[in-house]
């Protein structure tokens, strides 16, 4: 149904929205709702986030992906993993492998490992890793639904789409508990549900505190990715081309609006390596992409403005 102009005004007498703040999967979350979340729902949200972390965090010794990394063989993932792995199948194909969950090993070699070493691996460690050949999602993981079988140790990293996927899982939980209007914001990766659009600043990746534009989001998801978000050395950051293990250059920030947060999250990473026209053959989204030379491009249907 088209949104009418009258729906943009908050009804008179509506109280300020309620906020539920918490930390999960290593980042700050905020859920905004017109009325306060009930304690039972808050507990379920925290449990849901914890369950996700226990499955997918490669920074935890007790996680399932750590078990996969240590013990080749067959591992059974939770039922909700199917949607995430299906998305990765499509992202791997659409980016010709630039986005690949097995980039985890390369991240470790560059120093983004469970101990936050943040120093690149020595020559011997890198040589040992390279002797065994590059790992790829298509070649090294045999998947049957949520059952993954590996023949050698592989490091799964769902950093490209995992946080967005968890935002979607939390949104689904809220709807199941009767909440129809909400904003779930996991530090810039967010989903909005409700009549009233929100305006989101697109933060300048090189000038904190300033924005290069504004996105208007209503009943959709927005995710941001910036190569300087986590930088630990000269040219070393967390957005890697899985084919080469090298950090992406040239593109310095991306923002994607899509129907769900997992997709927006994955595409925000994919746009560092793959042209929008190529991704549009597979996915429906709008975007803004900023380059190292200070220019930014936007898709025709991007709702919002850029400051030029």
């Amino acid at each position: 149904m088209p949104r009418s102009a009258t729906s943009s005004a908050r009804p008179a007498g509506t109280a300020a929205p309620a906020h539920f703040d918490f930390d999960g999967i290593g980042t700050s979350w905020q859920i905004e709702t017109p009325r306060e979340l009930d304690p039972g729902t808050r507990r379920l949200v925290l449990d849901r986030v914890e369950e996700f972390d226990r499955t997918y965090s490669r920074f935890r010794a007790d996680s399932l992906v750590t078990a996969v990394a240590e013990r080749p063989g067959t591992h059974l993932f939770p039922p909700d993993s199917i949607g995430l792995f299906d998305l990765y199948d499509r992202l791997v194909a659409a980016t010709d492998g630039a986005v690949d969950p097995l980039v985890g090993r390369e991240l470790e070699l560059l120093g983004y490992d469970a101990s936050y070493r943040l120093r690149p691996a020595g020559a011997a460690e890198r040589a040992a890793a390279e002797a065994s050949g590059p790992a790829g999602w298509a070649a090294d993981v045999e998947r049957d639904g949520r059952r993954l079988t590996t023949e050698r140790p592989v490091v799964i990293d769902v950093g490209a789409a995992g946080k967005g996927y968890l935002v979607d899982l939390v949104a689904e939980l809220l709807r199941g508990r009767g909440y129809d209007e909400f904003l779930v914001d996991a530090s810039g990766d967010l989903v909005h549900s409700g009549r009233e659009p929100i305006r989101v600043a697109l933060e300048h990746p090189l000038q904190p505190g300033t924005a290069i534009g504004v996105a208007e989001v209503a009943d959709a998801s927005l995710c941001a990715s910036a190569s300087n978000r986590r930088v630990w050395g000269d040219g070393l950051h967390h957005i890697l081309d899985a084919r080469t293990g090298s950090p992406a250059r040239e593109v310095i920030a991306t923002w994607v609006v899509a129907a769900d947060t997992a997709l927006a999250d994955g595409l925000a990473t994919a746009l560092f390596f793959t042209g929008a026209h190529r991704l549009a053959e597979t996915f429906h989204f709008s975007y803004v992409r900023m380059y190292a030379d200070g220019r930014a491009e936007r898709s025709r249907d991007f709702r919002g403005e850029l400051f030029s």
């Binding site: 290593g26 980042t27 700050s28 920074f59 936050y116 943040l118 904003l183 914001d185 530090s187 810039g188 967010l190 929100i198 305006r199 989101v200 600043a201 697109l202 933060e203 300048h204 990746p205 000038q207 904190p208 505190g209 300033t210 924005a211 290069i212 534009g213 504004v214 996105a215 995710c223 941001a224 910036a226 978000r229 986590r230 630990w232 081309d241 250059r249 040239e250 920030a253 923002w255 042209g275 929008a276 026209h277 190529r278 549009a280 996915f283 429906h284 989204f285 709008s286 975007y287 900023m290 380059y291 030379d293 220019r295 930014a296 491009e297 936007r298 898709s299 025709r300 400051f307 030029s308």
Partner: protein, 166 residues
């Protein structure tokens, strides 16, 4: 096959020479992730590219119909070369002509060097504008999406390294 139709702005590509000597009003069929482009220049562009447009087999340049078209209708393609900082690269441009008007343009990046791929993709998707930062406090927004929001563990590790190093 890329069926999306784009406007083409040859004149804005400094340093890129493509010998498409025709330009006109392109039809414009936005799709979800087509980028904005600027309007086409009216007639471009003598160039030094080694290639020239040639009609496909399906169009016969000698038998243009009785209309006053200067050019035969049909699909044309050309490959343009340019020298990037990483060496020579090529870009493919296809146009569809009807009554001397370009009705479709497809730009296909053909680069092998990653940097060139990036810039060609940028061209294929549209012309990017230089953007400037505005103070977030001065624009009316309720959320911020960007790079200053980093995870706790990561920031602690960076702080520890800085402390080690000082």
């Amino acid at each position: 096959m890329n069926t999306r139709q784009k406007k083409l702005a040859l004149a804005t590509m400094t340093g890129l020479s493509i010998s498409a000597a025709l330009a006109g009003c392109a039809t414009d069929t936005p799709s979800s992730a087509d980028a904005e482009t600027v309007a086409p220049s009216t007639s471009a562009a003598a160039s030094s590219a080694a290639s020239t447009p040639s009609p496909d087999a399906s169009s016969d340049s000698g038998s243009a119909d009785a209309s006053s078209s200067t050019y035969a209708d049909g699909d044309y393609s050309a490959t343009g070369g340019y020298v990037s900082p990483n060496g020579p690269e090529e870009i493919d441009v296809s146009v569809t002509l009807a009554g001397d008007v370009i009705t479709a343009v497809t730009v296909t990046p053909d680069a092998t060097n990653p940097t060139a791929i990036q810039y060609q993709t940028q061209f294929a998707d549209g012309i990017a504008e230089v953007v400037v930062g505005k103070d977030i406090d001065e624009i009316s927004v309720s959320r911020v999406a960007g790079s200053s929001l980093t995870s706790g563990g990561f920031n602690e590790a960076i702080d520890a390294i800085k402390a080690d190093a000082s």
